[in-house]
């Protein structure tokens, strides 16, 4: 059965996340996961003239590195699905021009990492393509300009605001497993847009918690599992403000995720790095999942992980027009699988 419950896709023909690659900026490299990234830069410009080019370089490098790690050439990849935070998702569009892989550009704000992975896995599962690369990027300075103020503007931010991380992550999904131990993309729960009437763009953790709540609750119901069936339930960028709200919301429905929950935005920086409530941005869930989580799964320290990437779907214009912030969360289950077992 491919469709479980109302919102969950089960990838019947096994789909594998064969390789991943991550690229990160200076502050992320100084964080606790610094040594898990494939490429790091010690300057936000990443040797480019402007911020937009820098972000494009991050995305291109993550995809190229990912393909190379799987011993493939770009023309052997059937599809690229990618998105980012900039207007008209230009980072992805221009990277796709350089890479010349058949391309779908998607927008899911910070949920893009799991949105692209879910879509890529579905198309591989259905047999339209043999493999696909799912990728996303964000850059602190391009996001500041897109959503907030000029980077050097001296406005004071509240403690609930998050820091958009600089980085990119890519994962290569394939129908063929290529190792003794493989990471399987087991299922995905596609989120609904939630709006709990929050309008503060400097407190996205609070705005996104209901979306994560709804997706996690629906997922567990659809697949008939409890939180203890997972070694980790990982949210994207709820930060230190949104994470406790999510846990308490789920507790109201008798679901306790305290033991297994973590948030990518809280994992990517050290507590002394002055990043307000934590990391955010498309790349936040991507660099953590495709770096640290992927390697922990391969090592066997984790066996089954639910990654719930959360996204806030507003624009500065909507915020100025006093609209509230719609949010979404997509969940994907990654599990370790040894070849002789299957």
């Amino acid at each position: 059965m491919r469709k479980l419950g109302k919102q969950t896709w089960f990838y019947e023909n096994k789909v594998y996340l064969n390789e991943t690659a991550t690229v990160a900026g200076p502050r992320e490299a100084q964080g606790p996961l610094g040594n898990t990234f494939d490429i790091t830069y010690d300057d936000l410009h990443c040797n480019e003239d402007n911020w937009e080019k820098a972000e494009r370089r991050l995305l291109e490098q993550s995809i190229q590195t990912c393909i190379k790690k799987d011993n493939l050439q770009t023309d052997q990849v059937d599809l690229m699905i990618s998105g980012d935070l900039l207007n008209q998702i230009v980072t992805s569009n221009y990277a796709a021009k350089t890479l010349a892989i058949p391309f779908f550009g998607i927008f899911g704000a910070c949920s893009t990492s799991m949105q692209s992975l879910a879509l890529a896995s579905a198309l591989v599962d259905a047999g339209f393509i043999n493999n696909a690369v799912a990728a996303t990027s964000s850059h602190n300075a391009t996001a500041e300009r897109q959503f907030r103020y000029p980077t050097e503007y001296g406005g004071q931010k509240p403690a609930s605001s998050t820091t958009t991380i600089t980085g990119a992550g890519a994962g290569l999904v394939s129908k063929k497993a290529n190792k003794q131990v493989n990471i399987r993309v087991e299922s995905a729960t596609i989120g609904k847009v939630m709006d709990y009437q929050m309008g503060d763009p400097f407190d996205l953790g609070t705005a996104m918690a209901p979306a994560a709540y709804d997706t996690i609750k629906t997922h567990l119901g659809d697949v008939g599992r409890t939180p203890s069936d997972y070694d980790l339930i990982l949210t994207g960028d709820l930060s230190s403000v949104g994470s406790p709200i999510l846990k308490d919301m789920l507790k109201e429905d008798g679901i306790n995720i305290d033991e297994v929950h973590n948030d990518c935005g809280l994992m990517v920086y050290n507590s002394d790095q002055q990043v307000f409530a934590g990391g955010s941005g498309c790349a936040c869930s991507a660099v953590v999942t495709y770096g640290h989580i992927f390697s922990e799964l391969l090592k066997g320290n984790l066996n089954k992980v639910l990654v719930v990437a959360t996204g806030a779907l507003m624009s500065p214009t909507m915020v100025q027009q006093k609209e509230t912030i719609p949010t979404i969360a997509h969940g994907v289950v990654l599990m370790r699988e040894e070849l002789n077992q299957s």
């Binding site: 003239d49 402007n50 911020w51 937009e52 300009r145 103020y149 000029p150 980077t151 050097e152 503007y153 001296g154 406005g155 004071q156 931010k157 509240p158 403690a159 609930s160 939630m194 709006d195 709990y196 009437q197 929050m198 407190d203 609070t206 918690a209 209901p210 709540y213 403000v241 406790p244 709200i245 308490d248 919301m249 109201e252 409530a277």
Partner: protein, 156 residues
Amino acid sequence: MILEVIGMGKKFDSENYKQTVKPYQPKPNLLLNCVKAFVVGGLICVFGQGLTDFYINVFDYSQKDAANPTAATLILIASLLTGFGIYDKLGQFAGAGSAVPITGFANAITSAALEHKSEGYVLGVGSNMFKLAGSVIVYGTVSAYIVGILRYLLTQ
């Protein structure tokens, strides 16, 4: 909590979410922020006063005329600090203390100009420079006009 006891439904729902999440949100330390703003804003003004005295004593400006070179010097220093990436950190610390003085105005203009330099000097720097500072100019001019008229009427 009370809602749970009398069974009026869930604590978290889309209607009362904004109220329910209040305890989860970090509270700004108003007193500390006021002290920081007062000290930093005050120090900027003390520095400005020092500049005024310097122009009066060294270059023989009158008290009134010394205001112009003082403002220009403060703008120059704030713009340089913006370019070196220091003023935004000061702004995060001091809040209104560094935003209200003329140095904050200089920072708003310089940061916007820097930000849009990659889009060219005419449509980038030129048209975006006053993106943040523009409303200060508009409403500054409008309120000056209204106050001017009132003054004229009241002193007739």
